[in-house]
């Protein structure tokens, strides 16, 4: 087979832009793991079903196995390695998974963490997330260990932690979280 054309693209991952030289068919998930050695992003099914490889693209969850690395140029990618604060303090959802035993083997966990971290941004600190909303948030991620109950609990717990960290609740007008 003839030599494949290679593309050099700047991947902006967790606030740092690094060049990678890859064939067009390199999945973003593989570029993260193999080229950038960010192995926090896990690869499960490789066809978009399991959600383990979910990363944030410009803040929104996407499957990194359903994108090519060459397509990520010009976008900000956040992986599970980018969720914790600079000082190492866990992201609220990471702390919540620990508090609620939201993981067992841990394989699916990075996908849940990124997915839930993005979903929390749709809620003001102090707003509550219903059980049904929590289930909808994690509905696109598969877990073979936990039975999901503790993951659903962790969504609510993560919001509590966010609220605590945001400090005393300012006087919000009601009804800000609709639509």
């Amino acid at each position: 087979m003839s030599t494949e054309e290679l593309f050099t693209v700047g991947l902006a991952v967790n606030g740092r832009t690094q060049p990678v030289t890859v064939p067009a068919r390199r999945l973003l998930s593989d570029a993260l793991r193999h080229d950038l050695e960010l192995t926090g992003t896990h690869v499960g099914c490789e066809h978009g079903v399991c959600g383990a490889c979910t990363v944030l693209l410009d803040g929104k969850p996407v499957r990194s196995c359903l994108m090519f690395a060459v397509q990520a140029e010009g976008h900000q990618v956040t992986t599970v390695e980018g969720l914790a604060a600079g000082d190492g303090r866990p992201h609220p959802v990471q702390q919540a998974f620990r508090d609620c035993h939201g993981l067992q083997c841990g394989f699916c966990t990075p996908g849940f963490l990124t997915t839930i971290a993005a979903a929390l941004e749709n809620y003001e600190p102090g707003a509550s997330i219903s059980d049904g909303e929590a289930r909808e948030i994690v509905g696109g991620n598969l877990c073979r260990c936990t039975g999901y109950q503790n993951i659903v609990k962790a969504v609510g717990r993560a919001q509590e932690i966010r609220t605590q960290r945001a400090g005393p609740t300012p006087e919000h007008g009601a009804g800000q979280d609709g639509g």
Binding site: A24, R25, H47, G51, L57, P61, V62, R63, C65, T115
Partner: protein
């Protein structure tokens, strides 16, 4: 589960994209959201010579409402964008009712409505909505003016559309609902966000005395292409509050010819057509009443 090697081009303008697609002919394949194409590549079910990535082309990510109330969705509008689009919801609420059933948020953030239609999967929600609303696909080709292809002529079979080599679907147009017409969408899947075993998109039109005048339905995962069935005969002339919706469901079940597979037998799908139709129609009728109040 790695895609085969392919050439990759990322044009920056529509002119450039059409020229490339024209030159490539059958060797070219458009990459937009990639949420259907990339799995097919990874499973090695398709091996295009060259992908033409349209994501860097400006001006394709707009949702607009025409003067007659149709909703036009550009080739790069993601499902999530359409879901959040308030003018589109006001013009055609059925769009949001159906789009919220398309896969999961992570897929909706990347997958495009237009691409979902071009993919022509009969289990796709948006193909059924395009057919039900009498919509069309706008197709561009290098050196020719764009042409509109009606939904009825666009879908040829499972994963097969009338989009030809060298062509680009630039937008889809969902037809405007008539006055006093309400809609509903229901589907049943084994898991939330998974492919539906059956789905029903329905519209009910009422006259000024709230009598049923027209009932239409389109189904997912039931035939090789999204078919639109007229169910008016089962309930026409009845006040909506006392219409026998299960009769319309039974009529629908007699009109469809589903095939069975691993997930649901043909008989079960036919039963789902009857049940989902009978459940969706009263919701659509109530929606018609609500909409005529808003309009009044």
């Amino acid at each position: 589960m790695k895609p085969p090697a392919f050439g990759y081009l990322a044009p920056r303008s529509m002119e450039e994209a059409l020229a490339l697609l024209g030159d490539l002919g059958p060797d070219g394949k458009v990459l937009a959201g990639g949420q259907s194409l990339i799995p097919l590549l990874s499973m090695r079910l398709t091996a295009p010579h060259t992908l033409v990535d349209i994501n860097r082309i400006p001006g394709l990510a707009d949702v607009s409402i025409t003067e007659d109330g149709a909703v036009v969705v550009g080739a790069l509008v993601r499902h999530a964008d359409l879901l959040a689009d308030k003018p589109a919801f006001a013009a055609l609420p059925l769009l949001r009712r159906a789009t919220s059933n398309v896969a999961h948020p992570a897929i909706r953030n990347r997958g495009t409505t237009c691409g979902s239609i071009v993919h022509a999967d009969p289990s796709g929600e948006m193909t059924a909505i395009l057919a039900l609303t009498g919509g069309s696909v706008q197709i561009a080709t290098a050196g020719a003016s764009p042409r509109d292809v009606a939904a009825a002529d666009f879908f040829l079979g499972p994963l097969e559309s009338s989009l030809g080599a060298g062509e680009l679907a630039v937008s889809v147009r969902f037809g405007a609902p008539e006055a006093r017409t309400g809609s509903a969408f229901l589907e049943l899947a084994r898991r939330r966000g998974d492919y539906a075993m059956c789905g029903a998109a329905v519209t009910v039109a009422l006259d000024e005395s709230q009598t049923v005048t027209e009932v239409k339905a389109a189904y997912l995962s039931v035939g090789p292409v999204p078919e639109v069935h007229d169910l008016t005969a089962a309930v026409a002339g009845r006040p909506y509050a006392s219409a026998d919706w299960s009769a319309a469901g039974d009529l629908a079940a007699s009109l469809v010819e589903p095939e069975g597979d691993l997930h649901a037998s043909a008989d079960y799908r036919r039963r789902l057509v009857a049940v989902l139709t009978a459940r969706a129609l009263p919701l659509a009728a109530t929606d018609a009443v609500d909409r005529s109040k808003v309009a009044a």
